[in-house]
Structure formats: structure tokens, C-alpha cells
């Protein structure tokens, strides 16, 4: 009789082989071919996730791995951040659309498209592409990201030496019901540089994105993305970041709907006084499964990390939060904070949270908390007693719940845009 571990290994091997069958690596120049081969090696050695893996306890990875793409009706996205004068780069079903895009040079940054860069033999991105992802394969394998590194044909490569003139906005469109979008972006911030990256729109029926961000000493990176409102998507995203001394990394994700959303964020604070904030606000109804999985490693001294996640769930939606803070022995004076909260609008919905602290330094300040609650009936009555109809009163309370997460978005105008987006979505769908 095979043991359980052997059974899982056999299933993993079979699923990985099935996924890779008949899929050659894309053709490309020397630097990317080397990166892709190494990544494929990681996928083969570690295998793709299995639903019985501890790390996938609450989220079934099967649709993300299946050789055939689970189809999803192509839905139009909403337009956000319109007033932000960003340089727009448009991807249709995961492929760059230069016609629909602005000239990338307008951002005042060095921007290449992965499709172009991949044809060259050498490119600065080799220092980042697949490098941060590879670092992120331990202590827990994240081989869907390695699969992405091996197979991605499109994405943006951004290098910043100073403050960007304008934000860069990645806009996704979904047109084919069976599109399988694999996008890989790299951002390299040289010391003192500053970049804001925005993302929005449905990228495909199934989506796998990786964003690797190398934040050098004193550099600042801001990331704000909106996922949704398309319901059919199945998406896995990975953000890998490495932070130098005195650098700042802030990433915010707003999620509306989606059959399956798994957002992983893997951050390493390597220098002194680094600041890493990740936050998210999610709203989902029936058949929604939304998972935020965060892993923050404090390796440098006196760094601050913050995780703030809020989820509004109804109609049987399921929300997942797995958040870990790992503090190395040398990372004294670490300040780590983590909170995850859900607002359950009915009894069918579910929030599963797994907060974890692993601390080897003795002089640190780390806290975490997780709560699940319902709408406060007294507050609801108070609003209604002033003439606010029940649904509208509930939407106000839901927005109030999300406000604490939205406050994590540093740029007030972006925060306001997201707030309006949730507001519009809530009143449309009467969550």
C-alpha cells in the first residue's frame, strides 16, 4: 500500500506531466531561454500544487493546473483610475496590444515588452526575471509561478532610475472564452527611484500573472490593482518583491467577484528600515472563492511590515487569508502587523483565516488578528430609522467596513476611485 505522501507525490507527478505535455518552451534569446529552462526545472522537480498540500488546504488549485482551460464568458471590465494620467499598456487575452496602448516611453522610464526583450540575447531583466520567483520557492513551493516564468510570452519590464513622470497602468481585456493568459512583469527600481504601477481589467478565462519587483535602497514602489468584476475568471497571481535598505513597497488589491482568485504575495525585507505594506479589499457573492496568501520575511533590522485584508462575503462566497510573518534572528526591532477581517452577509458564506508568526529575533513587535462578523443590526436600524432603505444602508455599512483597508492606499485619489468602484458594484449587485 502506498502511503499518503506517496499517493500525493504520484498524483502531483501525473498532474504536472499532464499540464506540461506537448508544451514546449517558447522560443527566445539566450537570457530568457536560460531563465525559462531553469523555471521548467523547478516545476518538474517540485511539481505543481495538489489540493492536499497544506498550502492549498482552503483553495483547490485543480482548475489553475488543468491542461484544458475552464472556459469563461468574455466580459467587459470597468474603467478605473481614468483621471490619473497614466501611461496605458493594454493586453488582450494576455497578449500586448500596441495599437491600443500608449507609447511606453511617456512614463519617463525604461520600459520593454517581454515579447520584444525575449528575442534579444541579453537584457537587464535577467537579474530579476525568474530570480525573485526562484527565491520564493522556499520554504514553500509556488510552482504555478515557476510555470509562469517558463511559459510567459508577454508582460512589461520596467527599469527606473529616478521618479517616474507618470504611473504605468496595465489594462487587461478578455475576448476569447478559453483564453489562458500568462503574464510576467518585472520592475527594477534603482536606488532612490519611484514607480507607481496600476492594474485593472479581466485578463482572460484563466490567468496566471507574476510580478517581480526589485526595490533597491531608498526606492519606492506603489502597486494598486483592481480585479473584477467578471465572475468567470480563474486567476492566480504572485507578487515577489525584494526590498533594500530604507525602501518602501506598497501593494493594494481590490477584488470583486471571480470563480477562483488566489493572490500570493511574497516579500523579503533585506536591508535596514524597509517598509512593506500589503492590503486588500474583496467583495464576492455566490460561487466566489477569493484567497489572499501572504508571506513576509524580515531579514533586515528595524523593518516594518503591515498586512490589512478585508473581505465582504455573501451568498455562499468563500474567503481565504493565509498570512505569515517570518522574522530571522538578525531582524531585531521588527515591527510586524497583520489583520484579516471578514464581513459575512449571510450564514452560507465562509471565511477561513490562517495567520502565522515565526519569530527568531527577541526584540520585535509583532501582532496579528483575525475576525469574522455580521452587519451590526443596531447600526442598520439606526440608518433605516433615518429613512435610508435597507439595501442602501447595508451598502453604507459594507463600505464602512472596507474603509479601513482602503485607507492603506497611499494616494487618496486612487483610494477614492476604488471606493467609488466598490460603491457602484455594491449598489449594482446589492451585495
Amino acid at each position: 500500500m502506498a502511503t499518503r505522501t506517496e499517493q500525493i507525490a504520484a498524483a502531483r507527478g501525473a498532474a504536472t506531466a499532464a499540464r506540461l505535455a506537448g508544451q514546449g518552451l517558447p522560443a527566445g534569446g539566450a537570457w530568457i531561454t536560460a531563465a525559462r529552462r531553469a523555471a521548467l526545472g523547478r516545476v518538474q522537480a517540485l511539481g505543481l500544487p495538489d489540493r492536499r498540500d497544506e498550502y492549498w488546504k482552503y483553495t483547490d488549485p485543480t482548475p489553475l493546473i488543468a491542461p484544458e482551460v475552464p472556459s469563461a464568458e468574455a466580459e467587459a471590465g470597468d474603467t478605473l483610475f481614468a483621471a490619473h494620467d497614466a501611461v496605458k499598456l493594454v493586453f488582450v487575452d494576455g497578449r500586448f496590444d500596441s495599437e491600443a496602448s500608449d507609447d511606453p516611453a511617456l512614463a519617463g522610464l525604461e520600459i520593454d515588452l517581454l515579447g520584444d526583450a525575449a528575442t534579444r540575447d541579453i537584457h537587464w531583466a535577467r537579474e530579476v526575471y525568474g530570480v525573485l520567483e526562484a527565491r520564493g520557492q522556499s520554504p514553500v513551493p509556488r510552482t504555478l509561478a515557476a510555470l509562469n516564468t517558463a511559459m510567459a510570452r508577454d508582460g512589461v519590464l520596467i527599469r527606473a532610475t529616478g521618479k517616474a513622470d507618470r504611473p504605468v497602468s496595465l489594462i487587461h481585456r478578455h475576448t476569447q472564452p478559453a483564453s489562458d493568459a500568462v503574464l510576467h512583469h518585472c520592475v527594477k527600481l534603482e536606488p532612490g527611484a519611484e514607480v507607481t504601477l496600476l492594474e485593472q481589467g479581466p485578463a482572460g478565462a484563466r490567468v496566471n500573472t507574476v510580478l517581480e519587483v526589485d526595490v533597491a535602497d531608498g526606492a519606492r514602489f506603489h502597486h494598486v490593482r483592481a480585479q473584477g468584476p467578471e465572475q468567470g475568471r480563474r486567476i492566480v497571481t504572485h507578487v515577489f518583491a525584494r526590498l533594500g535598505e530604507g525602501s518602501v513597497f506598497k501593494s493594494f488589491t481590490a477584488t470583486v467577484n471571480g470563480r477562483l482568485t488566489r493572490n500570493e504575495c511574497v516579500l523579503e525585507l533585506l536591508g535596514r528600515d524597509g517598509v512593506a505594506h500589503v492590503a486588500g479589499a474583496a467583495v464576492g457573492g455566490a460561487d466566489v472563492h477569493q484567497d489572499d496568501t501572504v508571506f513576509i520575511t524580515h531579514a533586515g533590522e528595524a523593518c516594518e511590515s503591515r498586512q490589512v485584508y478585508k473581505k465582504v462575503l455573501r451568498g455562499g462566497a468563500r474567503g481565504v487569508f493565509q498570512g505569515k510573518i517570518l522574522v530571522h534572528r538578525e531582524a531585531q526591532l521588527t515591527d510586524g502587523y497583520q489583520i484579516s477581517q471578514s464581513l459575512l452577509l449571510d450564514e452560507d458564506s465562509q471565511f477561513l483565516a490562517k495567520p502565522e508568526l515565526e519569530i527568531y529575533a527577541d526584540d520585535v513587535k509583532c501582532s496579528h488578528g483575525s475576525t469574522s462578523g455580521a452587519i451590526d443590526p443596531v447600526a442598520l436600524f439606526y440608518l433605516r430609522s433615518r429613512g435610508v432603505p435597507e439595501a442602501e444602508a447595508q451598502a453604507l455599512l459594507v463600505l464602512a467596513f472596507l474603509a479601513e483597508a482602503l485607507a492603506e492606499v497611499e494616494d487618496d485619489r486612487l483610494a477614492e476611485d476604488l471606493r467609488d468602484w466598490f460603491d457602484a458594484r455594491l449598489s449594482q449587485e446589492r451585495v
Binding site: Y382, R384, S385, V388
Partner: protein
Amino acid sequence: MLEIKDLHVKLEEEDKAILKGLTLTVEPGRVHAIMGPNGSGKSTLSYVLAGREGYEVTGGSATLDGADLLDMEPEERAAAGLFLAFQYPVEIPGVGNMTFLRTAVNAQRRARGEEEMSSTEFLKLIREKAKSLAIDADMLKRPVNTGFSGGEKKRNEILQMAMLEPKMCILDETDSGLDVDAMKLVAEGVNALRDAGRGFLVITHYQRLLDHIKPDVVHILSDGRIIKTGGPELALEVETEGYTDIVAEGAA
């Protein structure tokens, strides 16, 4: 205007009767005061009229201008012109006071088939009303009642009342927690709304508020029933004598 007839109310969760045949009519333009011992059912009456969950009406009726209040959702009662200033105003973190009030004003207008108030019109009006209640701009911006002092919460209730211009106002111990100056401001706020078409039901323990808001009628509520009704002098009697004699007399 407000007509309550033989109202019987029990708790939904327990077999406990709280209102036991309460009858009361407030005519337009009049101020009725309700006094009565702790636990006699004053707040329960106000909640049942406003439509709070947790109570079961086992008999009697309550109508506003002939419309059955008990059959309406809380927001419909508000749109019909009923307003309750809460004994314990509710804190709502994350919802701005202004947003809340504008939403409420416009929701009521929509429900009545009226046009919504423009934001400039709204701002002008709220600034004016807030000023007369000594509510500063900061309080308007803060989340509803969150971190407000007891007195600030009560003034905020009156601000809401002034903005919503209800025709039937119920004030549940709006005077409690107010300092002398705030009490005057609140009373002025209430008196400014007094007109021939509007009715008031003022629940209080103290004569002091009634010095400022002169009632036409005073009722004594005890154990779920009105046991005595009189003029303003009844409030004075309570102030000096307490309830013991009145209650004994009512029971006799």
C-alpha cells in the same frame, strides 16, 4: 397626528410584556411629554414606533396621519415623517456624518417622490443648522457619532432632526448628558421646529428640559400604561414628589 390605541408589546425572544395597553394621541402643533420610572417602557414605545426589531406587537394600533405605522419598514416610517432621537445614539465607524445625512435626506425625498437636494444646497443647509447647534465642521466630517461625547451625540440627533424636518418627532431623553448650555441649544433647536403642523413626543425624567420646551400635555407612563395625564403642572409634581404617589393612585 400620532394615534396609539391600546398598544400591547412583548419581547420577541422572551415571554415578557412591556407595553400593556397604551393609548395616546398627539395632535399636530402640540408637544406631549412622557415621564415615568426607569423600565416603565418609554424607550420601548419609541422603538416600537420607529420599527426596531426584537419586539412583538400583540395588540392595538399605532398610526401616523391615519397610516398604519406598525405595517411599515423603518425607512418607510421615516419617509412618512416619523423621527426618533435615540436615547443612545449609535456609533457607526467608517460612515461619515455628512455622507450619512445626505443619504438620509435624499432617500426620504426620493421615497416621497420629491427631487433630491443638490450638494451645494445640502452643504449650505447643514452648515447653517450645525452652527445653531454649535456643531463644528470637524464633527460633521467625522464618522457618525464615533468618539462623540454624550452631549455631542445628542446635539447630533437634533441636527439630524433639523435636516430631515419630520412631522412627528420623538425625543427619548435627549436632555440626558447635556450640560446647561447644550440643553438650551437643543431646546432652541426643537423650538425652532415647532409649528402648527408638527407634533412632538418628549420623553424625559426632568422638569428642566420642559422649562425650555414647554409641553402642552404631560403623561405618566408606568408599567406599560399611561396612568395619568395632565398639564405642565404634572411634571412639576413629579419633580417634587416623585412617582410613588402617582403610581399608587394609578393602581388604585
